[in-house]
């Protein structure tokens, strides 16, 4: 069973010689923990994991104005901002003709498809004005591999998708070939072209997208998104929080790092010599981690090859046309 924050805290208090928490408060040590945890993830190389993502995506709500945002369920999950902001009028609008109307223009510019207020409506209307966002998991950092309905989907940028298909990039439907991220601040991606959806009235019909298709968990990834990604560190917030994406046996190095920084902070508990000791322990631990990273490749056959050897020598067997197959149709 994974160690909880309360258990880590108890050990850290012992390292910093403050078992009753008279000098170092829990919030202070937790902030240090979250920072050190992020450093550890950086040292290990972000932990990778695989998940199936539901298509259509589910959001926890919609808001139109920024002042509405604090009232939404944004702490639980993603909320969708409806509309765009028109700076000159300081207004939020839904359709492109609205700013024209405010400026007393002809207001004759229209979207190519239907405007939706919830991303799932993009599939209901069948002809959405813009590819709907698909939120990836909260701990998503960077994609390693992404597939829709078991076929690979390559990364691109919105700019490239637009340049390749100026007329219909916003509304094109079909089997997805590429995806782009909205920006680095969010975990939203857009699939292009937009896949058609085998509409499910109930969530159960789509299986549980939170679990990947491991041997003991049957999950249907057909018509859903499968993503292998590097996971970012997720801050500890509650007493019983754990982090399951990193090996449990590395967490003691975070404890050492927290002890070092706590003992070095300008508080009544400052002890430089002990801080140096825990700093040395953390450094030694990070050397262990570096070694572990190298050893993870123990079973990999890596070799140099001359140009003459070609690449076909290690090309694996996969379905090929038989040698007797005619090379030209007559």
């Amino acid at each position: 069973m994974a160690t909880t924050w309360t258990e880590h805290l108890s050990r850290i208090k012992k390292w910093v010689r403050d078992p009753s928490g008279n000098v170092f408060g829990e919030p202070f040590l937790r902030r240090l923990w979250n920072d050190e945890q992020q450093q550890l993830v950086g040292a290990i190389g972000p932990a990778a994991t695989v998940k199936a993502i539901r298509i259509h995506p589910e959001f926890y709500g919609t808001y139109t104005h920024d002042w509405e945002w604090p009232e939404t369920d944004h702490t639980i999950g993603d909320v969708y901002p409806l509309g765009l902001f028109y700076d000159a009028g300081e207004l939020t609008y839904t359709y492109v003709w609205e700013p024209e109307s405010i400026k007393a223009a002809n207001a004759t510019t229209y979207e190519q498809g239907y405007v939706y207020t919830q991303p799932w409506e993009a599939w209901q209307c069948g002809d959405p004005f813009y590819p709907p966002p698909i939120p990836l998991p909260k701990d998503f950092d960077q994609a390693i591999y992404l597939a829709y309905d078991r076929s690979p989907v390559e990364p691109t940028s919105q700019r490239e998708a637009m340049a390749d298909d100026e007329q219909s990039w916003k509304t094109r439907a079909g089997d997805p070939i590429t995806y782009w991220r909205d920006d680095k601040n969010s975990n939203w991606i857009r699939l292009y072209p937009l896949p058609t959806l085998t509409w499910q009235d109930t969530e159960e019909a789509q299986g549980d997208p939170d679990a990947a298709e491991y041997a003991d968990v049957a999950v249907d990834v057909d018509n859903n998104l499968l993503i292998v990604y590097r996971a970012a560190s997720v801050d500890v917030e509650g007493d019983f929080d754990t982090n399951s994406t990193l090996p449990e046996y590395f967490y003691k190095y975070i404890e050492y790092g927290v002890a070092e920084r706590a003992l070095r902070a300008n508080t009544d508990g400052r002890i430089e010599s002990l801080a140096d000791y825990w700093g040395m322990r953390k450094k030694a631990g990070y050397e262990v981690i570096k070694r572990w990273k190298r050893l993870k490749l123990s079973d990999r056959d890596i070799g140099f090859k001359t140009k003459e050897a070609g690449i076909s020598t290690s090309r694996p067997k996969y379905p090929r046309l038989p040698s007797t197959y005619p090379d030209a149709w007559v």
Binding site: R150, P152, V228, M280
Partner: protein, 211 residues
């Protein structure tokens, strides 16, 4: 109290025959240190191996190595038991190069790609639920909690663990100098010659093409 704990208790000035602080309840603190030390020694030396056998399921290409007992460290080899064949390690670029449609192919698994530290994708996915993956991996022992629990540690590394634990004990008492001295002893004992136990027995040589 096992022999490791007895050695530690003696070194920190407690009586191992009738401990005052580290009795049956207080010994948990020492055990926590010992478990940390054993984990680190196993990580550095890769000294503890075990086999995980995972029955394959038709059309299923992702598997997670269970950690009900030992924790998984890293892959040493992966073997397809019934088919008597070795799976080659690759990554997602490799899978993509082998077969862009690798998520659709089924057959006899020939490749595996680690995801994170204990999850793998295999290619092709097994076409039937009729074989077993035999994963030889470096394991990190389960943290022991009872006097009689098995300790997965080579006898000659026992003192390295003892010194590491005593080092931490001194740190919790505020004596950084003693803590550093014991840690240095630990570091020397777990030094480079022992870090490659298998390689040290090998004889490395160049070979001509004709040989």
């Amino acid at each position: 109290m096992n022999s490791l704990e007895t050695s530690i208790i003696d070194l920190i000035g407690e009586s191992s025959d009738s401990p005052d602080v580290y009795d049956s309840a207080g010994i948990d603190e020492i055990r926590s240190h010992v478990n940390d030390a054993i984990e680190e020694v196993c990580l550095i030396t890769g000294c503890f191996k075990r086999v995980w056998q995972i029955p394959l399921k038709a059309n299923c290409r992702f598997y997670r190595i269970p950690e009900a007992r030992e924790r998984f460290g890293w892959f040493y080899s992966v073997y397809l038991f019934g088919n008597k064949s070795v799976l080659s390690q690759t990554d997602f670029n490799g899978l993509d190069w082998v077969d862009t449609r690798w998520l659709q192919a089924t057959g006899t698994p020939a490749y595996y790609a680690p995801i994170g530290y204990r999850e793998i994708a295999i290619y092709p996915a097994p076409s039937s639920s009729a074989d077993t993956l035999e994963i030889n991996g470096i394991a990190i022992p389960k943290r022991y909690s009872e006097d009689s629990d098995k300790i997965a540690l080579r006898a000659s590394w026992k003192w390295a663990v003892v010194n590491r634990v005593v080092s931490e004990w001194w740190a919790t008492r505020g004596d950084a100098q003693s803590a550093a001295r014991y840690f240095q002893t630990y570091a020397n004992e777990i030094g480079i010659p022992q870090m490659y136990p298998e390689q040290s027995e090998r004889r490395w040589a160049y070979r001509t093409k004709g040989a």
